[in-house]
């Protein structure tokens, strides 16, 4: 059924269709509307046999989900930013225990300075926790990925994060096609736990493992993700057969066939990138783009196939490896091992800084002329930076940086453009 609804509501409706049995809720912007929607649906009796639990922290949210999942039910939670970091220990634990929990990340920057707007710093910080990470381009894809995520998680016995850009997707009202319960039931079978806490068949879960077996346990979690490299595209194909839509998969290439310049990005910014690709193509540029949907497992082979004939690759990242540059770039360059081409890392959209078509056009044109630095910060205000650097070197006790910059910028600091 077509609906014009908020992205968060679309996700909530998708989760409801997946027949969750335990949902843990803790508010944090910008994912809050998702759990609010689910709370409403549970309270109204629209989700049968489902427990909705208001917990006291994100650490508890995922911990409750861990208990529920280990006891054999389908468990879901959602978080963002500081919340994801606050539950970090439980994030690793859920993966280590092999519990097929699905969690939405409404992607948001991490403080300090505190910032509620979008970038990918949060989910990227937990990229190696053993969870599968899928990034949605649109609200429709966010909805679809959640349905795929439960099946993926349960087939592999591995938790899955579905990452969607905070505000840009979570708060955007867009047209989405909500599938019927029958269609979702046909795609997503009943949850059959691989391990379960049951008095009829007692097992101990979560024992200590020493050097004698830890490497093997970790190898098997890696192996599980390598299996996911095959399963993710198969599930996307099955999904397309049953729902008639392209959603998910490892990567999605856009006009890359003859491209000399290929832009790689994750999430909603791909929409803007594709528009810029279209307009630059009209001007004769040979440019294309690739959207990475599955960041964990990382699709090395699929990317290599798409990128190997390009002359240059621009990785547009909404996150920063401080002291290094890009996070996504590392994987992209690894996929191109042995192939000589120019690679550029562009850090963009941090803390909600708008990524405009104008800025991207200028950036990609610079890239085509190979005039980019190895690492570029898109739309960095050089005046602000150099003023602050001078001030800090001149004053013996320069005080807090962020506050000094905001003082200088004045009330325009509230702009996000």
């Amino acid at each position: 059924m077509l609906k014009q609804i908020e992205g968060s509501r679309a996700v909530a409706e998708a989760i409801a269709l997946c027949r969750p049995q335990v949902i843990c809720a803790y508010p944090i912007t910008p994912q809050t509307h998702i759990v609010e929607g689910l709370g409403e649906m549970v309270k109204a009796g629209e989700i049968a046999n489902c427990e909705f639990i208001n917990v006291e922290s994100e650490f508890a949210a995922l911990s409750v989900a861990i208990g529920a999942s280990a006891a054999g039910v389908r468990a879901y939670t959602a978080t963002s930013s500081q919340g994801l970091l606050y539950m970090a220990e439980a994030v690793y634990n859920a993966a280590g225990l092999g519990l097929p929990i699905v969690m939405t990340i409404g992607n948001r920057a991490i403080g300090a300075p505190i910032n509620i707007w979008n970038d990918h710093s949060d989910s990227m910080a937990l990229r190696d926790a053993g969870w599968i990470q899928l990034y949605a381009e649109t609200n429709q894809e966010a909805l679809d990925l959640h349905i795929q995520a439960f099946r993926l998680a349960e087939e592999l016995s591995c938790p899955v994060m579905v990452c969607m850009d905070g505000f840009i997707l979570t708060h955007a009202y867009d047209r989405v096609d909500i599938p019927s319960q029958e269609a979702v039931d046909a795609f997503l079978p009943r949850y059959e736990p691989r391990q379960v806490l049951d008095p009829a068949d007692p097992v101990s879960i979560g024992a200590m493992v020493g050097p004698e077996a830890f490497t093997e346990v970790r190898y098997l979690s890696h192996h599980k993700q390598l299996r996911a490299l095959g399963l993710i595209p198969r599930l996307a194909a099955t999904f397309k057969d049953q729902f008639g839509r392209d959603s998910g998969g490892l990567i999605r290439a856009y006009r890359t066939e003859d491209a000399e310049t290929i832009v790689v990005a994750l999430g909603s910014v791909n929409g803007t990138v594709q528009e810029v690709v279209d307009s630059m193509r009209e001007q004769g540029s040979r440019i294309g783009s690739v959207s990475i949907c599955s960041f964990r497992p990382f699709p090395l082979t699929a990317l290599r196939e798409v990128l190997q004939h390009a002359k240059r690759v621009v990785v547009l990242e909404k996150c920063l490896a401080v002291g290094l540059g890009g996070i996504v770039s590392d994987g992209v360059r690894k996929s191109l091992s042995g192939i000589v081409l120019n690679g550029y890392t562009v850090i963009a959209g941090l803390g909600g800084r708008a990524i405009t078509r104008g800025s991207l056009t200028r950036l990609f044109e610079d890239a085509e002329r190979d005039e980019l630095e190895q690492v570029t910060f898109l739309d960095l205000d050089a005046d602000v930076v150099s003023y602050e650097l001078e001030r800090e070197s001149a004053e013996p006790r320069p005080g807090p940086t962020a506050e000094a910059i905001l003082r200088r910028l004045g009330t325009v600091a509230s702009r996000i453009g």
Binding site: V22, V73, P199, I205, G206
Partner: protein
């Protein structure tokens, strides 16, 4: 007790099982006890926690008709019971993290509701570090939601698994690795720490009790009572740790009994935030009798002894006796 028992028959203050009707005998005396925490685990000799857990979980198993799932915080109990591929647990058991046992248990309990299995009950358990410190947020959350979980804290008054460091349950003056017996006021600081049973009561949860391995029948009875109630329940069990306290392994019960009889560890029950029962002290002993059994307090008995701080500890015991009405 329904049956009149003449104490002289046993020669001690203990009421022996053989003198009781079958229905009144202890769970541990029952041929069908479940040995939930089975023998062969790697606890130290004289471990109070192993003893407390064995009695508590077997009693809970009997009370629930063996329909029990346990969630364990990281700590001694977890480590000594599950050095895989060995496990001492004969019941479904999960260990997730140090600080989240109460929340994981909430999740297990929620799953039982979702699955329509209300008869399957859930226990969370941890040491004092996992309960009063790092797990406190999750514990309070489980309490205020009144989730159907019995949380048992085995309190040995420090982080024993990591090598005896101070927790918020460490008593004043006690020597630990992080409150060493050096300087002008050796050992743990006076006026610190928290009383989690009282904090649990402030949540107005249906059942809170303290218990001690000094009185295992009382411990079993409290666990049984707790399992007859729905909602959030808390039992705080005092369990001596020979290694951390510097007491003799064979003295675990004696040390625990002296803590109770001196008034330092009051035994009581509370329902919905109100104290409903307390165990009177039969023969009050001075705190020095308790403190002298443990090397962690040895610095108090130097030459000359620290009379001032010993008096402060006696004051704590006397205040407990007065507040809880332990001398009747």
């Amino acid at each position: 007790m329904d049956q009149i028992v003449k104490f002289y028959q046993t020669g001690t203050f203990t009421v022996g099982n053989r003198l009781l009707a079958e229905g009144q005998r202890s769970v541990q005396a029952d041929m069908h006890r479940t040995n939930s925490l089975n023998s062969g685990h790697r606890a130290c000799q004289g471990c109070g926690e192993a003893l407390g857990a064995r009695y508590a979980i077997d009693a809970a198993m009997q009370a629930t008709g063996n329909q029990l799932i346990a969630v364990n915080a990281t700590g001694c109990l977890e480590v000594f019971s599950t050095p895989y591929p060995e496990t001492s647990w004969q019941i479904p058991w999960i260990h997730s993290l140090f600080g989240n046992a109460a929340a994981v248990a909430s999740g297990v309990a929620a799953a039982q509701r979702a699955l329509g299995r209300p008869h399957v009950r859930v226990i969370a358990q941890g040491g004092d570090g996992g309960t009063t410190d790092i797990g406190f947020g999750c514990l309070s959350g489980m309490f205020e939601r009144n989730d159907d979980v019995l949380y048992i804290c085995y309190d040995n008054e420090a982080y024993m698994n990591t090598g005896v460091q101070r927790s918020s349950a460490t008593p004043p003056a006690a020597r630990t690795a992080t409150t060493p017996a050096i300087g002008s006021s050796p050992g743990n600081v006076f006026g610190t720490g928290k009383n989690v049973p009282l904090i649990a009561m402030a949540h107005r949860i249906p059942y809170v009790a303290t218990a001690s391995v000094a009185n295992l029948r009382d411990l079993e009875r409290k666990v049984t009572s707790a399992m007859e109630i729905d909602g959030a329940r808390y039992i705080h069990i005092h369990v001596p740790c020979p290694l951390g306290w510097g007491s003799a392994p064979e003295d675990t019960l004696k040390v625990a009994r002296l803590a109770v009889e001196s008034g330092l560890f009051p035994l009581f029950e509370a329902r919905h935030g109100k104290i409903t029962d307390r165990t009177p002290i039969r023969r009050k002993v001075p705190v020095t009798e308790y403190l002298k059994t443990q090397k962690r307090f040895a610095h108090l008995f130097g030459n000359p002894p620290e009379l001032g701080r010993l008096a402060l500890i006696q004051q704590i015991a006397d205040r407990n006796i007065e507040e809880f009405g332990l001398l009747q």
